[in-house]
C-alpha cells in the first residue's frame, strides 16, 4: 500500500499542488471557466453598451457583473475543493461530479467567504498584521465547510483548531502560490492589453468599449487558467493538517482494511 496521505513538507505540498494542477489541467480550468463564462458575457454586453452611449445601463451591468463574478468564483472554489479532495484520496472525479458533489455547500461558501472577507478587512485596518493573522487562522474555513459541512461558526472554529501551530507554513504556501498565480496572470493579460491598445484608434467610445472587452477577456482567461491554484494548495494543507493532527491516513487505512471494506470506506468517506 503506497499512500499519498502522509505528512508532507512545505516543499512537497507546493509540488503536489502543481502536480495535481498540471495532471488535471483541463478539469481545473473547466471548473473555473464554466461559471466565469456568464460573467464574461455580462462584461462584454456592458462594453457593447458603452459603445452605444448607454452609461446608466452600463453602470448597472457592471454592478451585476461584479456580483456575478464573486458568486462564480465561490461556486468554482467549492467545486475545486471537492475535485482536489477526490483526486487526493484517489477517487474518480470530473467537472460535472465536482459541481454536483459541491452544490449543497455552495451557498455556505458564498456566505462564509463574504463574512471572513469582512472580518479580515476590518482586521487589516489595524496595521495589516492582525488582518494576516485572521486570514491565516480562517484560511481552511472553505475546505472545512465543503468537506465536513457546518456554517460560519463551525467552519471558522475548526479552521482555527487545524491551523494552530502551522500558520507560518500556511503563510509561506499562500504567498508563494499567490505570487506564482499573479505572475501567470500578468503573462496572460499583458499581450491582450497590448492588442487592445494597438486596436483602439478612432472613436473614443469604441476605444473604451474595445479596451473593456479585451480586459474582460484577459481577466476571464487568466482567472480560468490560474484561479484554482490557491484553492488546490489550501485543500492539500487541510488534508495534511488532518493527517498530522488526527491521523486521518490511519483512519482511512483502517476503513479500507475492514472485513466489509467497501462499505466501511464509504462510511469513512462520508465522514470526511
Amino acid at each position: 500500500m503506497v499512500t499519498v496521505l502522509r505528512p508532507l513538507s512545505t516543499s512537497e505540498l507546493l509540488d503536489r499542488t502543481f502536480h495535481l494542477y498540471r495532471n488535471n489541467f483541463l478539469m481545473f480550468v473547466g471548473i473555473v471557466a464554466i461559471p466565469q463564462l456568464a460573467v464574461l458575457a455580462l462584461q462584454i454586453g456592458g462594453a457593447a453598451l458603452v459603445r452605444q452611449g448607454h452609461s446608466v445601463v452600463f453602470a448597472f451591468t457592471t454592478f451585476v457583473a461584479a456580483i456575478s463574478s464573486y458568486v462564480a468564483i465561490e461556486i468554482s472554489q467549492a467545486a475545486t475543493v471537492m475535485a482536489v479532495s477526490n483526486l487526493h484520496l484517489d477517487n474518480p472525479v470530473s467537472i460535472g461530479s465536482a459541481f454536483s458533489l459541491s452544490k449543497g455547500s455552495m451557498l455556505r461558501v458564498i456566505g462564509i467567504t463574504f463574512a471572513v472577507g469582512i472580518a479580515v478587512g476590518v482586521a487589516f485596518i489595524f496595521l495589516i498584521i492582525p488582518g494576516i493573522y485572521v486570514a491565516l487562522m480562517w484560511s481552511l474555513a472553505i475546505p472545512v465547510t465543503v468537506l465536513e459541512g457546518g456554517g460560519l461558526g463551525v467552519s471558522t472554529t475548526r479552521s482555527k483548531e487545524l491551523t494552530k501551530g502551522s500558520r507560518g507554513r500556511i503563510f509561506v504556501i499562500y504567498l508563494l502560490v499567490g505570487i506564482l498565480a499573479f505572475i501567470a496572470s500578468l503573462v496572460i493579460q499583458f499581450p491582450l492589453q497590448l492588442i487592445a491598445r494597438s486596436l483602439g484608434h478612432g472613436n473614443p467610445l469604441s476605444t473604451t468599449a474595445l479596451t473593456q472587452g479585451m480586459q474582460a477577456t484577459g481577466t476571464f482567461i487568466s482567472t480560468s487558467l490560474v484561479g484554482s491554484l490557491v484553492t488546490i494548495a489550501l485543500t492539500l494543507v487541510y488534508y495534511d493538517l488532518r493527517v498530522r493532527k488526527e491521523g486521518f491516513d490511519l483512519q482511512l487505512m483502517m476503513a479500507r482494511l475492514q472485513p466489509d471494506s467497501q462499505a466501511a470506506a464509504a462510511t469513512a468517506m462520508a465522514k470526511i
Binding site: 500500500m1 503506497v2 499512500t3 499519498v4 502522509r6 505528512p7 508532507l8 513538507s9 512545505t10 516543499s11 512537497e12 505540498l13 507546493l14 509540488d15 503536489r16 499542488t17 502543481f18 502536480h19 498540471r22 484517489d90 509561506v172 508563494l176 502560490v177 505570487i179 506564482l180 505572475i183 501567470a184 500578468l186 503573462v187 498530522r244 493532527k245 488526527e246 491521523g247 491516513d249 490511519l250 483512519q251 487505512m253 483502517m254 479500507r256 482494511l257 475492514q258 472485513p259
Partner: protein, 258 residues
C-alpha cells in the same frame, strides 16, 4: 497513484532508480529564499561600498576623488553583477547541486542520468538563467517548466540536468527482516495481510506526532481490527502499543509476507 512527478532511470548496471522530481512549487520556494539572501548581501555590499567610498575620499582629499569614485563604481556595479550571476553557480559547484534555498526546500540539481552535476554543466544552466527570467519573474522558465513532464527550465535542457528532491519520498512499506528464532509466529497471525502490517507500522512510526487523545483512540481501533481479523486478543494488562509492536515484530522476524 503518485504524489509527485518521478523520473525512472536505469543505470548501466541495470539498477532501476526512481527519483522524485522537484516541481515548480519547491523550486520557487528555493528561488525565493536564495533571492532574499542575495538581496540581503546586495544591501550589505551597497552600504559597505558607500561608506568605504566616502571614508576613502575624506582620507585622501579632493585630489583622489577619482579613485574613490572608481572604488564606489566597482563596489556598486561589479560586485552586485558577480553576486547575481555567480551566487547560484558558486553554491551549486561548492555544495554539489544545492544552494542555501535548495537546502531549505530539500532539493538538488543532478545530471539527467542521476550522476552529480559537473562545473561546466552548472555554469551552463546558470547562464541560461538570463533567458529563463525574461520578461521578468522567470516567466519563460515558468512556462517551459509547465510544458514538460520533468519540470525542467531552459537552463536544465541546455545543461542536461534535472532537479530532484534530495531525500527520497518515504513510502510506508513493511521492513522485512531475516527470520530469527526469537519468537515464533503465532499461527493466527498468518490470517493478516501485508496491508495490516503497513497499518500497524504506520501507526507505530507516527504515534508520537499525533494528538494524544487521537493516538489512544486510534491504537484501540487498530488493536480491535487486528484482533478481530487474526482472532487474537490483547491481554488486559498489556498496553495497546506493546501489543501492536509484538505483532509487528513477529511478522517481521518471521518474514511472514514473502
Amino acid at each position: 497513484m503518485q504524489s509527485l512527478d518521478r523520473l525512472d532511470i536505469e543505470t548501466p548496471e541495470q539498477i532501476a532508480l526512481e527519483l522524485p522530481l522537484a516541481g515548480i512549487g519547491s523550486r520557487f520556494l528555493a528561488l525565493t529564499i536564495d533571492s532574499l539572501l542575495q538581496g540581503v548581501c546586495l544591501l550589505a555590499i551597497v552600504i559597505i561600498g558607500v561608506v568605504a567610498s566616502a571614508g576613502y575620499s575624506e582620507l585622501v582629499g579632493e585630489a583622489s576623488r577619482f579613485f574613490s569614485q572608481t572604488i564606489g563604481a566597482i563596489t556598486l556595479i561589479v560586485v552586485p553583477f558577480c553576486l547575481y550571476w555567480g551566487y547560484f553557480a558558486f553554491f551549486e559547484i561548492w555544495w554539489q547541486g544545492t544552494t542555501p534555498g535548495k537546502r531549505v526546500a530539500g532539493i538538488r540539481v543532478i545530471q539527467q542520468t542521476g550522476r552529480p552535476m559537473t562545473a561546466t554543466e552548472c555554469l551552463g544552466r546558470n547562464l541560461m538563467r538570463g533567458v529563463d527570467i525574461v520578461p521578468g519573474f522567470y516567466a519563460v522558465g515558468l512556462i517551459v517548466m509547465m510544458c514538460n513532464a520533468q519540470n525542467r527550465r531552459l537552463g536544465d535542457f541546455v545543461a542536461g540536468t534535472i532537479v530532484v528532491h534530495d531525500k527520497a519520498i518515504e513510502t510506508v512499506t513493511p521492513n522485512w527482516g531475516e527470520k530469527t528464532d526469537a519468537e515464533p509466529l503465532q499461527p493466527e497471525l498468518r490470517k493478516l495481510v501485508p496491508d495490516d502490517l503497513v497499518l500497524i507500522e504506520t501507526y507505530l512510526d507516527r504515534r508520537y506526532e499525533i494528538d494524544p487523545l487521537v493516538r489512544t483512540t486510534t491504537a484501540q481501533q487498530i488493536v480491535t481490527l487486528i484482533g478481530e481479523k487474526a482472532g487474537v486478543s490483547k491481554p488486559p494488562e498489556q498496553k495497546d502499543d506493546d501489543f501492536l509492536e509484538g505483532i509487528a515484530r513477529q511478522l517481521r522476524d518471521n518474514a511472514a509476507f514473502r
